[in-house]
Symmetry: C2
Subunit: 143 residues, 2 copies
DNA sequence: ATGTATGCAAAACATTTGCACCTGG
DNA sequence: CCAGGTGCAAATGTTTTGCATACAT
């Protein structure tokens, strides 16, 4: 029951919040912008204001329920926080996103940070590439 | 003579472009936003429109003269492209930026990309931390 | 001269906020 | 009932664009 997640976060269980959480659930592994969510709600006949979506996403982020990323191209994208840190690789052609973690890199980041006289708090690492499977990629590009 | 850089890039040598390039030269190692540049020009009595600054920076980026970064916090920042790739660590308190390169990480990034079925084109890695030297850091924070 | 660059003001975006109204507990 | 949530429209901050004018070659 996901309404528990909301209560736990100290957020009242409202329709918009439930719906948005639901959409994020159904799109685990995808990365949606506020407007993506807005459109999805639109289509399923849930007219929720864009402002509310931004507000709710920000609250979710604060509560640690979602993570916000700034891939290239204007809009921020959001994904449900699965609890495990990971980084991303994005295809510059079709937009496909894969997640990964690499202990060695995490390790080096910590060391470098120390050497430069900082305490590491967070990091953002995004690799940009193109899918080797060109057919698949181009198919995805045209939705 | 930096006007050569402009000609080489196929850009007409104009006052705004020269001035902006000059400011970037004088601030190698810093990372300036379009507005930072605007203000600096202002102070030195060179009234150049903000729109022009954005246009010129974009042209410089296309020409490979500068690199654009999206650190957290709205504005994009620019730095002269010294030809050598590097990543950044930013202090979340005072905004200090240090640059570094780590061959091991670059190596791993390439391998991971391959494993996931992509061809690596580019990457962005930004570490966020706080300066260990608190005094220095807080001093910087208050400019 | 002439094609390109600039300045200004207006547009375009993504995101945030003020405020009157609505809703969950 | 009432604190908190929502919708709408307007404000914000950054970046882009249209167009008349100015400039480099």
């Amino acid at each position: 029951m996901e309404s528990q997640d909301l209560k736990k976060a100290g957020l009242k269980v409202t329709l918009p919040r439930m719906k948005i959480l639901e959409i994020l659930e159904q799109n685990r592994k995808k990365h949606l912008s506020a407007e993506d969510i807005y459109r999805i709600l639109m289509v399923s006949n849930n007219e929720i204001g864009l402002a509310t979506i931004y507000r709710v996403l920000t609250q979710f982020e604060t509560a640690g329920l979602v993570t916000r990323h700034h891939f290239e191209g204007g809009q921020a994208v959001f994904e449900l926080d699965c609890g495990v840190h990971h980084d991303h690789i994005v295809c510059v052609d079709c937009g496909k996103v894969e997640e990964f973690v690499d202990e060695m890199i995490e390790e080096r980041q910590k060391r470098i940070t120390e050497e430069l006289g900082f305490d590491l708090r967070d990091h953002s690492m995004i690799l940009y590439g193109v899918c080797k499977d060109r057919e698949d990629c181009l198919k995805r590009r045209n939705n």
